[in-house]
């Protein structure tokens, strides 16, 4: 699976589709406040979807590590968390650029912006924790436990609190339903680009994660730890 080719090609095809048809597809103009900038939806939002999926995979491997004590699971967990955080960081930067032109300032204190920043900071502490422990077994075990904690902090920071108050993001108080689940809020034209974009970006993230995993495994083998 690490070396399989088909899903890497699929990732390329889907992203090439996103980066071409994403510019051409007819998007709704509504009240003309968003204009063409709604196309950012094909790039900014998949960063967050990709982050959540990769962090979930990282969580699964953290639990697996705690059950098995197998260092390979720790390597997997770390690589997926790192790539998840790359997506999260790109998400917050692209969000700030978009906000600057749409809401008037890069940081408007929107509940979802603040929540995302808190979620990222909690995850950054995961890397600080790892970096501060020299014993490999201890590092793997403690960071697996902390990984579980930080994943569950995504629930209040990203998925619950921003939806309980008024928000400039979709899905805040007063808007119908949960845009993460209720895809009908998006025009069908946009959905034909958005979902392939999510799959494409996520697969690219998985690919880069597997490269990191393979380097780490080679290193461990060289050091005689595997």
């Amino acid at each position: 699976m690490l070396r399989a080719k088909w899903w890497k090609v699929l990732s390329f095809v889907l992203l090439l589709y996103t980066c071409t048809y994403g510019f051409l597809v007819k998007v709704p103009r509504l009240d003309d406040r968003m204009k063409e900038s709604i196309r950012n939806f094909f790039f900014h939002v998949p960063m967050w979807f990709g982050m959540m999926i990769l962090l979930f995979v990282s969580l699964v491997y953290a639990i697996k590590y705690l059950k098995s004590g197998d260092l390979v699971h720790d390597v997997y967990s770390f690589a997926f968390a790192s790539m998840g955080l790359v997506f999260g960081t790109l998400g917050i930067i692209t969000g700030a650029v978009w906000a600057n032109y749409q809401w008037g300032s890069p940081w408007v204190g929107d509940p979802k912006q603040n929540g995302a920043a808190i979620a990222l900071l909690i995850y950054f502490a995961y890397f600080v924790l790892r970096g501060s422990l020299l014993d490999i077994e201890k590092r793997a075990r403690l960071s697996a436990v902390y990984n579980i904690f930080s994943f569950f902090m995504l629930f209040p920071t990203l998925w619950i609190l921003p939806r309980l108050t008024e928000s400039l993001h979709p899905g805040g108080q007063g808007s119908d339903g949960n845009p993460g689940i209720n895809g009908k809020d998006m025009s069908s034209n946009m959905r034909t680009v958005f979902y392939p974009a999510v799959i494409g970006w996520t697969l690219l993230g998985v690919w880069i994660s597997t490269i990191r995993i393979r380097i780490q495994l080679l290193q461990l083998k060289k050091d005689g730890l595997l």
Partner: protein, 53 residues
């Protein structure tokens, strides 16, 4: 003469200047994407060689 040149340039560029030059942006983003994938694929290949050793 200048006018003739201008129309020639316009017709040469053709598709690139239609509807607000969005095709131009599309082409540039696609080139970046292709370059990025070639780079990631080359790293992938190098690791495969290392693993075979």
């Amino acid at each position: 003469m200048i006018q003739l040149l201008e129309t020639q340039i316009a017709s040469n560029e053709g598709i690139m200047v239609q509807s607000g030059k969005i095709y131009l942006v599309m082409t540039i983003v696609s080139i970046i994407l292709i370059g990025l994938f070639i780079y990631v694929a080359s790293i992938d290949k190098k690791i495969t060689q290392l693993e075979k050793k």
